[in-house]
């Protein structure tokens, strides 16, 4: 069951991404397969349980097989007329990347593989240790796996932490892993980290059109100290940052090449699954929705159906969870720690901003990332004469951060002060933005030109 269950997760994700992308960049589908597959399975577990069905491994496996046949058939008919080579290797090919290997690609690749390998080994070596995982996500997953329902005895008797009120992707994912036979819940952290690394390289490769640049910036994104440190821990912050940064990267691929509408759809699916991990994903959704609405209003090559599809796909999982919370308010209310204030407190905003800036510029947490952000901003401003794309990408990150601050400012915690939360957990809020800062620099016009020149001279290739 363990092998069948795992293979099904990956296959399901692979076929779904293939269906969305149609003519695929194969490595993108492979990289996203683990996360998307598990996301769709947990969505099924949640919806079926909300409708009264028990959460069992057999049920999830049967669903996965049916979905696999359905999407597989859909993909076959969608692409039946496309020749095999074009169907699978229409985009870039990893073997070609290896063929045009150079020292920067090779060293970046080697370091990335080494770091991911050690962190994965660490994850699998130790049992769950992090406090939030022990008292919330992992414990809740144990309850779901054993009692086969979300509203289990742990919820009824409040024997689990406030993490039970978080959207249930992570806990359901761990529960599925327990049910198919894994003993260590950290397996899910490894799944996210490994598949994120592959897909970040693949998506960057499509966005940047340059294998050297993609490998280098994957290495730098993976090396954000606190992010990689927490990747080994069984909590939701890193997986959400991974999903949401990939979603924005896919969005930028579409933004740069409007013909690639499939990447917009993929971005929506990833955004939706990120929202199914943590509710605060709304701060990433809002700027993207606003941008899409703006593009639609100013008739910049997007149809209303595409905007509507994006918003529905991105919002649906989180909306379903919020409906579930409302329907079971009597039971779930005790886990909800947050209340929203309707009054605006400028003094608290200043305090939150001060605390956050302390975290951002802490070398311990983000290394050189904040300085890379400043460099990216300066280069984006200089690149304005060539177009607004670079500045727009950077603005998306800044608006997301501003919305985060605003969200934090309006939140009132029942059991703790906001200052404490920012001081101890504030760094986790910023992982997604830190990854995107590296990507914004990578996609900057001047950095792209620099890496194009570097790639050509090191690989002795006329093309990228």
């Amino acid at each position: 069951m363990l092998i069948i269950g795992t293979v099904l997760t990956i296959l399901l994700g692979f076929i779904i991404v293939q269906c969305i992308l149609k003519q695929s960049d194969l490595l993108v589908a492979l990289g996203l397969s683990g996360m998307v597959g598990l996301g769709i399975q947990t969505l099924y577990m949640f919806v079926s349980n909300a409708m009264g069905l028990p959460i069992t491994a057999i049920s999830t496996v049967i669903f996965s097989v049916v979905a696999l046949i359905f999407f597989g058939a859909g993909y076959y008919y969608q692409t039946a007329t496309i020749p095999f080579g074009k169907k699978y290797f229409a985009g870039f090919s990893f073997s070609k990347d290896i063929g045009s290997v150079n020292v920067i690609w090779l060293l970046s690749f080697a370091f990335t593989v080494y770091i991911v390998y050690i962190i994965s080994l660490k994850s699998l070596f130790w049992p769950t240790y992090a406090h939030d995982a022990l008292t919330s996500f992992d414990l809740f997953a144990k309850g779901i796996a054993r009692e086969e329902t979300l509203l289990n005895s742990l919820i009824m008797e409040k024997r689990v932490g406030p993490g039970a009120a978080y959207p249930p992707f992570y806990s359901l994912g761990v529960a599925y892993f327990y049910q198919i036979g894994y003993e260590n819940a950290n397996t899910i952290s490894v799944l996210f980290l490994v598949f994120f690394t592959i897909s970040f390289y693949a998506v960057s490769r499509v966005l940047l059109h340059n294998s050297t640049s993609a490998a280098f910036f994957t290495f730098m994104a993976i090396s954000i100290p606190e992010f990689i440190g927490q990747s080994a821990i069984n909590i939701t912050s890193c997986p959400q940052a991974m999903m949401v940064s990939l979603s924005i990267a896919c969005f930028m691929i579409w933004f740069n090449q409007r013909a690639r509408i499939n990447y917009l759809n993929l971005s929506a699916v990833l955004m939706g699954l990120a929202g199914f991990l943590r509710s605060e994903t709304v701060v990433y959704m809002l700027p993207v929705f606003t941008l899409l609405a703006g593009l639609f209003l100013f008739k910049k090559g997007i149809k209303p159906a595409a905007v509507a599809r994006f918003i529905i796909l991105a919002v649906l999982p989180l909306a379903l969870w919020q409906i579930f919370l409302k329907l079971n308010a009597g039971i779930m209310e005790k886990f909800v720690q947050i209340e929203f204030s309707h009054s605006f407190d400028s003094q608290q905003l200043a305090t939150s901003g001060r605390l956050m800036s302390g975290i951002i510029f802490s070398a311990q947490f983000f290394g050189i990332t904040p300085y890379i952000g400043i460099l990216s901003l300066i280069l984006s401003l200089i690149a304005l004469k060539w177009g607004k794309k670079d500045l727009l990408f950077f603005s998306l990150i800044c608006i997301t951060f501003a919305l985060y601050l605003l969200l934090v400012n309006q939140m009132k915690l029942k059991f703790d002060s906001m200052e404490n939360i920012i001081q101890f957990s504030g760094k986790r809020f910023l992982f997604g933005m830190a990854i995107l800062i590296w990507l914004s620099l990578a996609s900057n016009r001047y950095i792209s030109l620099l890496f194009d020149k570097l790639h050509r001279s090191l690989s002795r290739k006329k093309t990228l």
């Binding site: 020292v103 962190i119 309850g143 689990v160 100290p225 990689i228 440190g229 802490s362 050189i368 090191l458």
Partner: protein
Amino acid sequence: MKQNKTKSSVATPPKPLQRTVRQEHHKQAAIRIPAIVVNLIAGIIFLAVITFVKNNNRGYNWMWEGLIKGNIATMEQYAEATNDQKNQERHGNFFTFMDYINKKTPENAIILMPGDSILNQLNPKLKLSGLKNRNMVTFFIYPRKAVYSDSEYDKKELSKANYVALVNLNTAQSKNDPNPKQAFSVQPLP
């Protein structure tokens, strides 16, 4: 016709210049640095920059020395350890006690835990603070239930408790008998 002649004479660059460009191109090709040398230089610069950043930034230094090297060393140290031993290493006596409860009680046991008055007297060095955390205890003993007399959520379950977890303070904190295992017990309730 005249105009055509003039145009063609202007459009065609003078022959000597053409030769010079070609010659320059050949010259450049002849002194082109081999790819392996360029890559070697780039590799050295790349490694030098990475090393510089690692040595001069607290975060990257921690990542390399603490997270990566430190974890390799710890994993080697506990290479032969069982899952229980790893848990014990991380959670100390708290895990020992939870493991003891799991071994001595059935899965449907409802266990009355020691109250705050006792737990607050425990020496922090014993690493038993986890006992105060109802959710943490539940993680290790689930599906057994831990009930606390001072918890508002356990009021209904208190009367159903069929076991009691005991901490013998004198034994637990005795200087003569530092083995805390002897200080824990779990007894069935009549």
